[in-house]
């Protein structure tokens, strides 16, 4: 068997492992193993690539891998579970960046694809555009989630200007690509393409509201996958094609599943969803008057929950920010010791990423059986004495069910308002990430406990101990 046959065989083994690993990732029981299988597949693919006859420049390759490992490992090790969404955005971005850079060098190396078949130019340029969009888009998504940039939609110009501008930018990028494919060898065209795509990436993500960010990251993830597959076709590398395409396809489905869970369509999100509908400010509703809210104390909250027979805890991003999951778990244990049934209601898009809450609560050792998905728990709220909302907002907003002109109308929500009483832990009366007012807070059933979620839960726990 020749060396290049060996490489091909190893590639087949590697993408077999990617597929098998990914299948594992779809079930909680097999997920850890699945992820590791995929990682081993990746290692095999890299080794196989190094075995390709004629590979040189070892020093530089090792240098790149070493720097990447030095940056990636500590980042992945130290990131808090609450910050995982932005970390994924960042990792996704660098992947897209790598694709774009490779395409750029391809262009330089082949003198504008002079002696290459047309399809190589087409796929390579496609990967350059998509990779560049993905890199910059992911960076903006990261900045928004990390709150370097404000989470609310930022749009450029009034009305449809944004969309028109995006189309123009896409037009410029495609025009550069077509000119290059037609035979022009001017690096300025390639740079123009990359810059236009970069600005496009920025402009596409900037107007998207924070609440839609998980869907955007998933979409960009799919994009990076597709661009990797295109790189694979241009370089005639099966492992790249298969892995990239699997990610592209599965990412698309995943994006769709998430969008469905939020009752939003992908085109409307990309077209600047919330940003397009809402006028500035948090008003939204007609009666923007100061309405009375009832605030409560930790002692009252503790008392109320002790005499409940069933308490449902509704966690949201506020719990994540305050790192309150361990405190919540401790409070729950005390309640259970007093004979209260405690369940957790997990909205599919609570937090900044689907499944975000499950990760955090699993970290705090909350038993899996207590975590209830939306469909499971919604029938139970009418039998619930107290719903304790910890830093969630939009996922419990009754407007989504009742008010047809609300931007989130139609999004499935947790029917917290059906329970006997509601306690909301919240930092202040600021509206949620989506910037929409929530009538639940003004309901007579609801009492608000203001303050940092972790501190509030801690106080309640102390009160419970004293009872």
């Amino acid at each position: 068997m020749s060396r290049s046959d060996l490489v091909s065989v190893l590639y087949i083994v590697s993408f077999g492992m990617f597929i098998y690993g990914l299948m594992g990732l779809t079930g909680p029981r097999t997920a850890v193993r699945g992820n590791r299988i995929a990682a081993v597949g990746m290692a095999i693919a890299i080794v196989a690539t190094l075995l390709i006859p004629g590979i040189g420049n070892w020093g530089l390759i090792v240098l790149g891998v070493a720097i990447g490992t030095a940056v990636g490992v500590p980042a992945a090790r130290s990131v808090r579970m609450t910050a995982v969404p932005q970390m994924v955005a960042l990792f996704n971005g660098v992947g897209g960046g790598a694709v774009a850079l490779i395409a750029w060098v391809e262009f330089r190396h082949t003198a504008g694809y002079a002696d290459e078949p047309t399809y190589v130019a087409v796929f390579s340029l496609f990967s350059a555009i998509v990779g560049s969009v993905s890199f910059w888009g992911s960076n903006i998504a990261f900045a928004k989630l990390q709150e370097i940039l404000p989470g609310r939609p930022i749009s450029i110009g009034p009305g449809r200007t944004q969309q028109v501008l995006n189309l123009v930018l896409l037009g410029i990028a495609v025009a550069c690509a077509v000119t290059i494919t037609a035979g022009a060898d001017a690096e300025i065209l390639m740079i123009g393409l990359l810059v236009a795509a970069a600005i496009l990436g920025n402009f596409v993500v900037l107007p998207i509201g924070g609440a839609d960010m998980p869907v955007v990251i998933s979409l960009l993830n799919a994009f990076t996958g597709l661009s990797a597959a295109a790189t694979g076709v241009a370089l005639n590398n099966t492992s790249l094609i298969v892995a990239g395409m699997i990610v592209g396809a599965s990412g698309t489905i995943l994006t769709n599943l998430m969008a469905t869970a939020m009752n939003r369509s992908i085109p409307s999100i990309v077209a600047g969803g919330f940003g397009g509908v809402i006028t500035t400010g948090g008003g939204g509703g007609g009666d923007g008057e100061e309405r009375p809210v009832r605030s409560t104390s930790a002692a009252d909250a503790a008392l109320q929950m002790t005499y409940a027979s069933q308490v449902v805890i509704v966690p949201g991003y506020g719990m994540a920010v305050a790192q309150a999951q361990h405190a919540v778990r401790e409070m729950t244990k005390l309640l259970e010791a007093k004979g209260v049934t405690v369940k957790y209601a997990i909205h599919p898009v609570a937090g900044r990423m689907p499944g975000h809450m499950n990760v955090l609560l699993a970290e705090a050792d909350v038993p899996y059986e207590q975590l209830k998905e939306m469909d499971e728990i919604n029938g139970e709220f009418s039998r619930t004495d107290v719903s304790l909302v910890i830093g969630a907002n939009d996922v419990i907003n009754p407007d989504a069910r009742e008010k047809a002109d609300s931007p989130i109308y139609g999004m499935p929500i947790l029917n917290v308002d059906e329970s006997q009483s509601v306690i909301v832990l919240k930092r202040s009366m600021n509206s949620g990430f989506a910037g929409i007012d929530n009538p639940l807070f003004y309901s007579e059933k609801t009492s608000m406990l203001f303050g940092d979620a972790k501190a509030s839960v801690g106080e309640i726990t102390e009160e419970l101990k004293a009872l």
């Binding site: 909680p28 992947g95 990610v247």
Partner: protein, 103 residues
């Protein structure tokens, strides 16, 4: 060659669709993070182009950056996913207090 590759491309696309057709919401985050790590496969592209030789300082520099990026994507992606999934694991047998956890 193009046609073979296109055939692989299309088939892989359908495999991707088939694998992810039904996933519980719980696992969306790890799944996204895991697939995210897999597209770090672009590092292969960087290695091939650099390894088979390019001229000029700028091209080499760009490729080293590309390989660095790819490595961050791969290594970071798999590690984060692993950390996340470890927290799901061991929850089903009603936990015999071992709570080591890293973070």
């Amino acid at each position: 060659m193009l046609l073979t590759n296109l055939a692989i491309l299309v088939l892989a696309g359908f495999v991707g669709f088939a694998v992810i057709s039904k996933v519980p919401n719980t696992l969306h985050t790890p799944l996204m993070s895991g697939t995210n790590a897999i597209h770090g496969i672009v590092i292969l592209g960087g290695i091939i182009v650099l390894g088979l030789g390019v001229d000029g300082f700028l091209s080499k520099l760009l490729l080293v950056i590309a390989i660095t990026f790819g490595t961050i994507n791969v290594v970071g992606g798999f590690l984060v996913t692993d950390r996340m999934l470890e927290m799901f694991k061991g929850k089903r047998p009603p936990r015999e207090g071992e709570g080591e956890g890293e973070s």
